[in-house]
Amino acid sequence: MIQQERMTVVRQREIAKNIFEMTLQGQIVQEMTPGQFVHIRVSNLLDPLLRRPISIASIQKDSNEFTVIYRVQGRGTNVLSQKQIGDEVDVLGPLGNGFPVDAVQEGQTALLVGGGIGVPPLYELSKQLNDRGVRTIHVFGFQTEEACFYEEEFTKLGETYYVTNDGSKGFKGFVTDLLNELKPDFDVFYSCGPLPMLRALSSMYENKKGYLSLEERMGCGIGACFACICRTEEGQEKDYVKICSDGPVFEKGVVKI
């Protein structure tokens, strides 16, 4: 169920250049699943006005905490990065439909491909897949070494590869370049990141089952305003989907990307 809650900041730190990790505490954590997002009102003032959509990066139900990882992009995320421990943040969530963890069985392998700020939701996903006995392979693309984060965390969960555009860390190029060389053996892929990456993956793994997390500019975040519409591929039941409430995760081939 969607709820609005004033959650308390219990941790906030910069984990890479302009990338912050913030942990919030509150009841709505109990309802969260990987791949869902929250809509955060960064201030009680009227400017910046709209809520900011941010993915759920990890969930700790026993302590009622969840973590987001976000890049300081513009005004809203900048205000968010100023929050101190003990401050309250207005959170609406959990929103949308996340990654189906049961799309892959115990003993099978999942390939998790992330680009930049699309990596965070894959962390909780990887944790939950590993809990179910699924092997995970992580392939993440970043601009440059300074923007990379969570290497240790992901390495603990499975084989992890970093790709940077400038070659400052790991493989040089795009994630698809590395995947072409690596030729990993897997059953299902899950991905979140820039559209060109999602497009390339979809055609590269045309015959594999895959799930993509999409982004769009949002108004309400709950399905009421028609801001975040994407057209669907031919043959789908509906002509369009709302990224916020039908997604943000869709099975490959559903949405025209």
Binding site: Q4, R41, D47, L49, R217, C220, I222, C225, F226, I229
Partner: protein
């Protein structure tokens, strides 16, 4: 005693607060959050004869204390609204105001004729002011003669009172208000969004795919108040005011300027509980102002 009830043509409002069209869908999403029967009324998303897929994305952009939108009147079309959305809303004890849109007079007449027969539709809101569709919409909203004729035709077929939603994108809003009053409108709703643009800082290109979008939110409130104030002086039909309402003082301001009820748009996205909150906060505000019933403040700006 209910200190908040308001009677308007076709509308028996428990209180003067309602979500504005396009900011509340057909109510389903907000019904997960609170009981819609609490609301004075609901203005549903614009309905057109055929389903509309709307504009390309990005459709929204934030601006200082406001936002631009160019949704393009996306809606499931008259058939579906009649068959699914309106019957679903019947479970709530709340009057529905159906926002009617189109690109030709025939479109408006067709939607109005059919949608006004739905049992819970207690009034129509003729949307002659959407800035985001290429044809129709806005031309009906900027030419007083065209607007008056449209209202006459819609009035001739509607089973319920007809309110007309005015565009602020005109030189003389009073002239438009008078024209629709002569055409037989039972009320006026105002304002729709103001046409605006935002550019990408790096490329200098428009941020919204449609190039222009409609500005809404707290940033537009002073314009909306001015327009309600001007129109109230010159027409005898009631006004439902909107544009940037974000707190209970804004409700008082709109009603003081001459609105008989108030709609909340953009702020539903920022605080999805804003409508019930405003309703709960109004009585204390009335105490503060020393008024018994909210009706007493309607138009008080104009009193000697």
């Amino acid at each position: 005693m209910n200190r908040l009830d308001i009677q308007l043509p076709g509308l028996d409002l428990k209180n003067p607060i309602m979500p504005a069209s396009g900011c509340f869908g057909f109510g389903r999403e907000f019904a997960q959050l609170y009981d819609l029967s609490k609301l004075g009324a609901i203005m549903i998303k614009a309905t057109t004869v055929k389903p509309r897929l709307g504009n390309p994305t990005p459709r929204v952009a934030e601006t200082p204390a406001g936002m631009l939108n160019a949704i393009g009147l996306q809606n499931p079309g008259l058939e579906k609204v009649m068959a699914e959305e309106l019957p679903w809303l019947e479970r709530y004890d709340v009057p529905i105001i159906a926002n009617v849109a189109g690109s030709t007079t025939e479109d408006y007449v067709e939607v109005a004729r059919r949608i006004s027969t739905a049992p819970n539709v207690k009034a129509l809101e003729l949307n002659i002011s959407c800035p985001n569709v290429k044809q129709g919409g806005i031309t009906f909203g900027t030419d007083p003669v065209v607007a008056r004729e449209l209202v006459e035709q819609v009035k001739a077929v509607s089973k319920v009172p007809v309110y007309v939603k005015l565009s602020p994108n005109v030189t003389n809003i009073v002239e438009m208000a008078q024209a629709v009053e002569i055409g037989g409108a039972d009320g006026i709703t105002m304002i729709n969004t103001l046409i605006g643009m935002r550019l990408d800082e790096k490329t200098g290109k428009p941020l919204i795919a449609n190039v222009t979008g409609g500005l809404s939110g707290p940033a537009v409130k002073p314009i909306a108040i001015r327009m309600v104030y001007e129109v109230y002086k010159e027409v005898d039909i009631p006004i439902i005011g909107m544009g940037g309402v974000s707190c209970v003082q804004d409700v008082i301001d709109f009603m003081s300027a001459g609105a008989s009820a108030v709609a909340v748009g953009t702020m539903n996205f920022v605080d999805p509980f804003i409508c019930p909150k405003l309703i709960d906060e109004l009585p204390a505000k009335l105490d503060e102002l020393g008024v018994k019933h909210i009706k007493e403040i309607i138009g008080r700006s104009h009193r000697p």
